[in-house]
C-alpha cells in the first residue's frame, strides 16, 4: 500500500482492521523516497469476500493513496529475523552449519547463546525456524514481510518520480 506519511495514519489503518475484526498477521511500514508518502506491507488472512472487503475498506480511507492485493500475482517478498539460540559449545557447530546453509550471519555470541540474522522469502524464513527449533530457540524477532510487485505491475506515488 502507498499511504500518506502523516501522524495518525498507522493508527487509522490498524483501527480499521480491529474495528471490523480483520486479521493483521504482520505489518511493516516506512517512508519512501517521496517523504510525503510511506509504503506499507500488511499480511492478512481471510476468505475471498473478506479480502475484497479489506482492499475496499483500505481504499476508502482518506490517507490511503493506493492499495494492491499481491496474493495472486507475481511479487518479490523478504523478511528479516533475529534468532537467539541456546548454544553451548557442543550444539554450536550444528547451529552454525544450518545458518551457513541459509546464508545467515552470526550477529551476537555469548557463553551459552548465539544470535543469528537471516533474511529471505517467507518459505526460507519458515524453513530455518523449523530446522532450528529442536536445537533450542530462546527468542525470535521478525520484521514482518515487505513485498513489492515484479517491475511491470508496481504502484507509484501520485504525481512524483520515485
Amino acid at each position: 500500500m502507498l499511504v500518506e506519511n502523516k501522524p495518525g495514519v498507522l493508527a487509522r489503518i490498524a483501527g480499521m482492521f480491529s474495528g471490523r475484526a480483520f486479521n493483521i498477521h504482520s505489518l511493516a511500514v516506512a517512508p519512501t523516497l517521496d517523504t510525503n508518502y510511506s509504503r506499507m506491507t500488511i499480511v492478512t488472512h481471510g476468505s475471498e469476500q473478506i479480502m475484497e472487503q479489506i482492499v475496499k475498506q483500505l481504499r476508502k480511507l482518506i490517507n490511503v493513496a493506493k492499495v494492491q492485493d499481491l496474493t495472486a500475482g507475481d511479487y518479490v517478498d523478504r523478511e528479516m529475523i533475529l534468532i537467539r539460540m541456546r548454544a553451548a559449545a557442543a550444539k554450536r557447530a550444528e547451529v552454525l552449519r544450518i545458518t551457513d546453509i541459509f546464508r545467515g550471519k552470526v550477529v551476537d555470541v555469548s557463553h551459552d547463546t548465539i544470535t543469528l540474522e537471516v533474511s529471505g522469502t517467507e518459505s526460507k524464513v519458515e524453513a530455518i525456524i523449523e530446522l532450528l527449533s529442536p536445537l533450542g530457540i530462546t527468542e525470535l524477532i521478525r520484521t514482518g514481510t515487505v513485498a513489492i510487485p515484479r517491475a511491470k505491475k508496481t504502484i507509484k506515488s501520485p504525481g512524483s518520480y520515485e
Binding site: 483501527g15 480499521m16 469476500q49 475484497e52 481504499r59 482518506i62 490511503v64
Partner: protein
Amino acid sequence: MDTIFGYPGGAVIDIFDALVTKFQRDFNFILVRHEQAAVHAADGYARATGKPGVCLVTSGPGGTNTVTGLATAYMDSIPVVVFTGQVPTPLIGNDAFQEADIVGITRPCTKHNYLVSHVNELARTVKEAFIIAGTGRPGPVLVDLPKDVAQAKANFEYPRSVDIPTYKPTLKPHIPSIKRAADLIAQARRPVIYAGGGVITSGAHRELKTLAEMVGSPVTMTLMGLGCFPGTHPLSLGMLGMHGTYRANMAVDNCDLLLAIGARFDDRVTGKVEDFAKGAKIVHVDIDPTSIQKNIKVEVPIVADARQALAKLIEALNKRGYEAADREKLKQWHATLTVWRNEQRLRFDRTTEIIKPQYVVEKLYELTEGNAIITTEVGQNQMWAAQYYLFDRPRTFLSSGGLGTMGYGFPAAIGAQVAFPDKLVIDIAGDGSIQMNIQELATVATYELPVKIAILNNGYLGMVRQWQERFYDRVYAHTDIMAPPDFVKLAEAYGAVGLRARTAREVEPVIRQGLETKGPVVMDFIVEREEGVYPMVPAGGSVKDIILV
C-alpha cells in the same frame, strides 16, 4: 453554510469572541444545552437541507459529548463538520485540564478527522473538511483546534479549491454494467426497486419516479429512504424489513429482479442473508464500493452516484426500446401484489377508549396533510411513525436508522426548524427517548422555535419490552419506566406549552390545539401500555417467520 450549533468552553473562548465581535452578521449561532444535542441538531439541519451541518464545541468533555452524535451521523452518512477546541499544542499529551485525545477517540466514527497543528494549515484543513463531509458518500468530519492555533495570527488565504489526491469518489457509472442492468430490467417479470437513503442524498427522487413509472415496477423503501419515492404513489409498497409491511417483504421474497439503489442491505432489511431475495437477480447501485458485495452477492454491481446511474439507466432503457407492451408482462405480478396488500394491511384495534399509539400517528398525518417534517426518537415510536405517516417528498423524515440513537429526534427537530422557520416540524417520541435530551426545551424556548413534540407515553421502553414479551417470557427487566416526570408541568417549567390527552376522543382536539399554538408545544399522549409493532420479522429470521399480530 450559515448556521452553527454549539456550546462554549475555555479552549474555544477566542473563537466565540470572534463570532460575537466580528462575525455576528455572518453566522446564525444556536446555543444548545448539551454538546450531543449540538451534533444531532447539525445532523437534522443537514438531513433537512442537504447542506453540511456545523458544530462548535470545546475540548475535553465538550468533545467527548459529541461522540454519540458523530457515530449517529456516521452510520447514516450525514454531512456534519464538528469543530472541537483542544488544549494548546505544547500541552497535548500531557493530561492537561479538559484535554482529550478526541481525534483518537473519534477515528472509528468519523469519515475523517484532523488535528490542526499550525495556523498555516488551518484554511486548507477547513476547506478539505467540508469537501470530505459533503461529497461521495457523505459523513461526519471532526476538526480539532488547539487554543494556541486558534489564537495565532496569519494571513488569511482561503484556497478557492483544493485537490485531495487520495480521495476521488466514483460518480459516473460504468456504461456496460448499465446496459446489462437495463437488459435484466426489461426481461424481468417480477421486478422490485429497493430504494434507500442514497437516493435522497443524491437528489435522485425524480429520476427514481420516472424509472419506476416507465417500467411499472413497484418500489419499496428503507427507513432511511422514506420520502425518496412518494408513499402515496400506487407503486409504493411501503417500507421493507423487520417492521416493514407484509406486501413489501413478500414482494422482495418473490421477485425475480431486485434493483437496489442507494441502500446497503442492512441486517434489519435482509434478516437471514441466505434467504433474502433468493430467487432474484440483484442489481446494486451504490456510491461506496465497500457496500457492494459486503453481505449479499449481486449480479450487476454499479459504483456510481444514484442520480447519474438512474439517468443512464433510463437512457439505456429508452435506447433499447421499452414500451407499454413490456409493462403488460407485469400484470400478473401487480395482481399478486394487490392480493398481498389486501391480505395483511397494517392494522390496530380502533374500538378502545384507551389511546392506541398508531392512532396518534395516523391523526398527525391526517391533520398535517402529510406536509410536516417528522423527526423520531428510537424504538416503537420510530417504527409507528415510519408505518403510519406517509412521506411523499424527500428530506421530510429524519430518523436515526443505523445507530438507533434515543434522544436524536428532539435536537434534530431543532436543527430542521432552524433551517425552515416557517415549516411545521414534529418530533414523534417515546417517554424514554424524550428524556435523553429534554434539556433542549430551554433551547426551543430561548429561540422561540415552534417545534411540536408528540410523546407516545406508555411508561415503558417499548421496543425492548416487546422483545421481552415475545422472546424472554415477559420478564420486563428494567424496561418499566412508569414514573415522573409530568411532561405537561415539565414543558411549562421551560416556558413551553404542555397538553395532555388520556382518551382516544381527546387525541384530535389536542393535536389541533398543539398545531395551532404558536411556539414550542409538548403533547403528552397517554397510550396503551403494552402495544406491539407489527409485522415483525425476528432478527436473523426470514419472511416465512413473519409475525403478523
